[in-house]
């Protein structure tokens, strides 16, 4: 029996296929709950989850909060503003303080790569990484895979192209690790300054020409281009990025007819993606948001309560 009870979800690198399949399968049941009239379950009744976000986040934090509440857990949001972090408390001490309050899981987003690993060594509660710098964002990787599986029926053998700033992209890394484990054919494309060829060591194919990369693609995952990358040696301008790597309806013709377009959000329309694409029949971008809640419900339930299935009638 596969179980991830008591296990932290730090990243998707090294997570075995069976565990990813388990999360996706339970997420499917959770989605039925999200779609139903009564979303309130008592599966995590008596459990508490803390959202610790050192970086601003609306959608991910909201998604985790909603997921925990749908499951009946108590949730507190812990943000740096006004907290002891600004009084100079160390990361370890902050974690110890929160742990002493008796939480079962800590969902954390932190600017520094590897901080969830540090947290996992410091304290006992389950650590769920909600994004560590440019490293991983495992639940985003899982919800992208969930969406692909939902639309395409499977993941293995699909050509998935990730477009954008890969070097600084935690979404990219979690996608790569998860998709490789699930048997997809992963391609990366973006400017040479934001995509190092050494990434091929991860078992992916690196391109610098968009047309070549998205030829016959089944899925295109479009990443957000951070505006601060412009003009400091990474990119001359957002406009030039758009002309070289922007995804629009014309360019989708290079891919398969039934290509699926994903974007983790928030979108810069007119830079990495055009309105004719993001609101089109090819896009599942809104569905990704809904799936995010379902996947996070599955992750919280399975790490806290365990088991290899879930009874959502409770």
């Amino acid at each position: 029996m596969v179980s991830i009870q008591g296990k932290s979800l730090l990243g998707l690198q090294g997570v075995p296929k069976e565990e990813i399949e388990l999360i996706l399968q339970v997420a499917k049941k959770m989605k039925a709950v999200v779609n139903s009239g009564n979303k309130k379950l008592s599966l995590l009744k008596g459990k508490s989850v803390v959202n610790m976000f050192w970086e601003p986040s609306t959608r991910t934090r909201g998604s985790f909060e909603m997921a925990a509440k749908y499951l009946g857990a108590d949730v507190i949001n812990f943000t740096p503003r006004g907290s002891s972090i600004q009084k100079g408390e160390s990361f370890r001490d902050t974690l110890l303080t929160v742990t002493a309050m008796g939480v079962d899981a800590i969902v954390m987003r932190q600017k520094q790569e590897g901080s969830p690993w540090f947290a996992d060594r410091c304290v006992d509660p389950i650590i769920i990484n909600a994004g560590d710098g440019a490293h991983e964002h495992p639940t985003q990787g899982l919800l992208d895979m969930f969406t692909i599986q939902e639309v395409k029926g499977h993941i293995d053998g699909l050509k998935v192209v990730i477009v954008g700033d890969i070097d600084h992209g935690r979404v990219a890394r979690s996608n790569i690790y998860g998709l490789k484990t699930m048997g997809a054919d992963v391609h990366l494309v973006g400017p040479r300054t934001l995509l190092q060829p050494e990434l091929e060591a991860m078992g992916v194919k690196v391109h610098y020409d968009l047309k070549e990369a998205i030829q016959d693609a089944d899925v295109i995952n479009v990443l957000r281009i951070q505006k601060e990358r412009q003009g400091i040696g990474f990119l001359p301008s957002a406009g030039e990025y758009n002309s070289l790597f922007g995804i629009n309806r014309d360019r989708l013709k290079w891919a398969k007819d039934d290509v699926l377009v994903l974007h983790p959000g928030p979108m810069n329309r007119g830079i990495e993606i055009e309105p004719d694409t993001c609101y089109s029949e090819f896009s599942s971008i809104q569905e990704q948001v809904k799936n995010g809640v379902s996947v996070r419900m599955a992750v919280l339930y399975l790490t806290i309560m365990g088991g290899d299935d879930v009874d959502t009638t409770r």
Partner: protein, 428 residues
């Protein structure tokens, strides 16, 4: 006071000597080296089964004084040296204030006199305040006896300034030691740039930053006919640049650390700050090139870059923690275990790199076992198995990439000026 070190295997690179013999020490000096020596009333140190080497030197250490006694002090750092078998250290000037004037050197000498367990050489700054703009008072510091000049921790960016520093230092027959990482290429970087940094999403410090810096220093040394010493060399191309420069007769020397000879960036996958250091622990091809450089004499010296920090400073997220970790208490064990017992280098090479060669680079009358010399000796137990336990370090710094590793080989005793300052791990 007389001490007779009996029956040890004397490994003495300066004389290409490797034989079992006795060493008679009187009043802190070596009196005689030979077979079956005896002396009435002498204290006997039984060295049978052990190796006796000229006192090990570590020419790249941060004792952190003045100003950072929370990280380390002359007392704790030199106890750590004694525990590790090191009889003499050279301490770097990136302190608070910077060691860039004669009066600070003088103050250091006063403290060293009273508090140090082993000998301490002082390295003066190249530039005032390590700012890389104005020459520090090299002449005055040379008069106070500094061993060399360095802005360690920072690369001397400006080419013209570095040229003048080399020229000026050469008047006093002192070597310039440079920390070679071109700043614009490593800005914001926290580990070696490569496959692992890409997988971890951590901004890298690319090898090319060191290659460029080392190339510049070699060409300046060549153009000015002055010596330069490359601190903690760590890249394949830098080793090759030094190799070729030596063939051309350039006065360049280089040192390497145990971490760059033994570890690779694979270790960083746990995000533990005890692996964070500059230059960073690099990938296998660079590590292998450093070993080859040590084997063929391209790299002269093995040093630790002992860089203690307070526990709270290292107990942070990886990117936020300061770079550097301790090494004085692990260098002998690490080198014997991973370089000697594995057959990468022989004992003569190891002793040369950890003693004789360093004395030569700094122009010290040390690193040799011969009558008339100071009786500084490092006694090695080649086969002693032990587990590194950083909580037991004499150093204030506890972060070590070698923590919990099992070593084969350890310093059994440290003798400074004929006095046994460490025996079986206990600093006396």
């Amino acid at each position: 006071m007389t001490l007779l070190v009996k029956g040890g295997r004397v490994v003495n690179p300066a004389m290409q000597q490797d034989e079992i013999c006795d060493i008679l020490i009187e009043n802190g000096k070596i009196k005689e080296v030979g077979a079956n020596l005896s002396a009435d009333g002498a204290e006997i140190f039984d060295a049978s089964g052990l190796v006796v080497a000229p006192g090990f030197i570590d020419m790249h250490v941060h004792l952190r004084q003045p100003g950072q006694s929370g990280k380390e002090t002359i007392e704790t750092g030199t106890k750590a040296a004694a525990a590790g078998g090191i009889t003499r250290v050279a301490t770097m000037p990136n302190t608070k204030p910077v060691i860039d004037s004669a009066i600070i050197v003088d103050g250091m000498k006063y403290k060293i006199e009273r508090e140090a367990k082993v000998k301490v050489e002082i390295i003066g700054a190249i530039s005032k305040g390590l700012q890389g703009q104005e020459l520090a008072a090299m002449g005055a510091m040379a008069k106070e006896g500094v061993a060399a000049f360095s802005d360690d921790g920072r690369y001397v960016e400006n080419c013209d300034f570095m040229r003048k520093a080399m020229e000026y230092a050469s008047m006093f027959h002192k070597v310039i030691i440079d920390h070679c990482e071109e700043q614009s290429l490593v800005e914001g970087g926290n580990m070696h740039e490569g496959v692992v940094s890409n997988e971890l999403g951590i901004k890298g410090r690319p090898a090319v930053a060191e290659d460029i810096a080392v190339a510049r220093d070699i060409f300046l040394a060549e153009a000015t006919h002055t010596p330069v010493h490359i601190a903690h060399i760590s890249t394949k191309n830098a080793v090759e640049l030094v190799r070729q420069a030596k063939k051309r007769g350039v006065q360049v020397t280089a040192e390497v650390t145990p971490q760059h000879l033994i570890l690779t960036d694979e270790a960083l996958r746990t995000f533990e700050t005890r692996y964070k250091v500059n230059p960073p622990i690099r990938s296998e091809e660079h590590r292998a090139a450093c070993v080859a450089g040590l084997q063929d004499g391209t790299i002269d010296a093995v040093v630790t870059d002992h860089a203690p920090h307070e526990w709270e400073e290292k107990d942070q997220e990886f990117n936020l923690a300061p770079s550097g970790f301790v090494g004085l208490e692990t260098s002998v064990g690490a080198m014997l275990t991973y370089m000697y017992h594995t057959g990468h280098i022989d004992l003569m090479t190891l002793v040369n790199a950890m003693s004789t060669a360093q004395a030569k680079i700094l122009g010290l009358d040390a690193g040799v076992i011969a009558p008339g010399k100071d009786a500084d000796l490092t006694v090695l137990d080649l086969d002693k198995e032990w587990t590194v336990d950083s909580s037991k370090f004499y150093s204030k710094g506890k972060a070590s990439p070698f923590d919990e590793m099992i070593f084969k080989g350890k310093a059994a005793a440290t003798i400074v000026n004929g006095e046994i300052v460490m025996k079986n791990g206990e600093v006396l």
